[in-house]
Symmetry: C2
């Protein structure tokens, strides 16, 4: 009883692991169906499928569905299409980021990257086609999607977050910052655009798709911006003091590469305080939703406590 | 009088050159404004601007506006945004096609290609950002755009035409067909997807934006598919017998590269008959529009008669 009183969201009683597993299953099924229903060229389909159906965390679609739930909606057609569009765009950005002209990565999550498994031309086109497909599934008429203004608002939000004033712009700033002196304001700006904008679009997109009020959408936007920042800061912290065994990758690499990070610019302790403060802001923004925001609550806490 | 009677569209009295010049001016102004209003990263803006504001023919946006005019509309906000979105997507596809992993072209229309003028990473991101921006300008709220169903139908049409079942899919098939034996059906399929789908989306998008009826949209779709095909066939014919002086580029290159073309697969005379038949089909489809379709009429005839 005491615990329940001090934790109105009920998140301490909430099983995040089971929730994530269940959502990922639903998302993977829908992604597979949407991709299959919308494909023509077999090679391009193979490449899109290969990258999209890999072992992703599905963070953006899970946040989208959890935000829709916070405003009282379930896994409606529009919520699921929004969730899947977000993952398609996330996947396209990874495919293009891995290209030789960009980060030149051969492996991602233990598998060859798209341009290694296929080739450069196929990888470029698979990314391009996933971006188009995201907007196609959001705009085409579908059963039980009957509020065109909702659809347009979601498309506008996601298009803005993925373009020059969002992810692509952030990626460009990040490429330009390599080897340059970067201050805290610039670092934060890069992350806000490169990863923060799409995380915010995921949460806000889910809230709009779920029919949230203006005040609810605003509160969830605050939540999303705070966890986006907290996620990046803890990522940097884990690169300093994480356990390589648990993380499944080397640590200390940022320092070796002289990369601008929060611990490098504000110190390790200050970074931890900063991340905790962001998560507190996120949880505060959830207060108007009560127990319906339990999944979002648990995700924010997980970001702070995660070991990998 | 006799001429007018046998030419109800009035296209023989229509000055195509002046029409194209005027439309290109309006389109270039709007492209510049939309790009400037929607940009953040200066390097990315520069690259997008460099490729978008080059000396393009603006065929797709002109077709879009001409189609809107055929159904009785003027240069409304939605018509102009649709026209500009089409040109942004066309430009993105050229930037990505020119990349080293694709066609590896250093020059386009007498200027260095985007990845030569900037670099590979910037060119990839500039293309990506132009694709996102196209959907952003089509979906965001704007003055006097008050029919969300129209907006959604245009987005769905363009997203479909640019993705796996359209341009990107056609590009993939084209890459795969290089060095392979290609029959006439495959050649036509490649062109229908690679260039035809976006030309059709331009005309149909303009017709929807202009508030065309279902029958008008259908007729314009037929027109667009026919001129798309005629354009490709005449392109192949010009590569055989065009004047390199007038065209500003070498001819005979397709034969040297053993490229599958209409003249190679069906003979030169048969190709000319085929192109003329497609243009006749296109003109026939315009009959319901009367003199309002004079620009579309003139464009179709120009495709057949052009020397470059």
């Amino acid at each position: 009883m005491t615990q329940k009183k001090s934790d109105p969201s009920g998140s301490s009683l909430f099983e995040l692991g089971a929730y994530l597993d269940q959502k990922r299953r639903v998302i993977d099924e829908r992604l597979h169906t949407l991709l299959t229903d919308h494909c023509a060229s077999s090679r391009l389909f193979e490449a899109m499928h290969y990258s999209l159906m890999g072992s992703g965390k599905r963070l953006r679609p899970v946040l989208c569905i959890a935000a829709a739930e916070a405003v009282g909606a379930g896994e409606t057609e529009l919520v699921m299409r929004t969730a899947c569009a977000l993952e398609m765009i996330h996947t396209y950005s990874l495919i293009h980021d891995d290209l030789p002209a960009m980060d030149d990565d051969d492996m991602r999550r233990g598998s060859p990257t798209c341009h290694i498994r296929f080739d450069g031309a196929t990888a470029i086109l698979a990314g391009d086609a996933l971006l188009s497909l995201a907007f196609e599934i959001l705009s085409e008429p579908a059963e039980s999607m009957d509020d065109p203004l909702q659809q347009l608002a979601i498309i506008a939000k996601i298009a803005h977050a993925s373009g020059n004033r969002g992810m692509a712009g952030g990626q460009m700033l990040d490429v330009g910052a390599q080897g340059e002196e970067t201050d805290l304001a610039s670092l934060r700006r890069i992350h806000e655009l490169k990863t923060g904008a799409m995380i915010e679009a995921a949460v806000v997109g889910g809230a709009i798709a779920g029919g949230g009020t203006h005040a609810q959408v605003e509160a969830l936007s605050t939540y999303a911006r705070s966890i986006g920042l907290a996620f990046q800061v803890t990522d940097d912290i884990l690169n300093v003091e994480g356990d390589p065994e648990i993380m499944g990758k080397s640590t200390g690499t940022d320092e070796l590469r002289l990369k601008a990070t929060y611990p490098a610019l504000m110190g390790l302790d200050e970074s931890k305080t900063y991340a905790a403060k962001q998560v507190a802001l996120a949880l505060d923004a959830l207060s108007i939703f009560g127990s319906k925001a339990a999944p979002l609550h648990a995700i924010a806490r997980y970001i702070l406590e995660r070991k990998r």
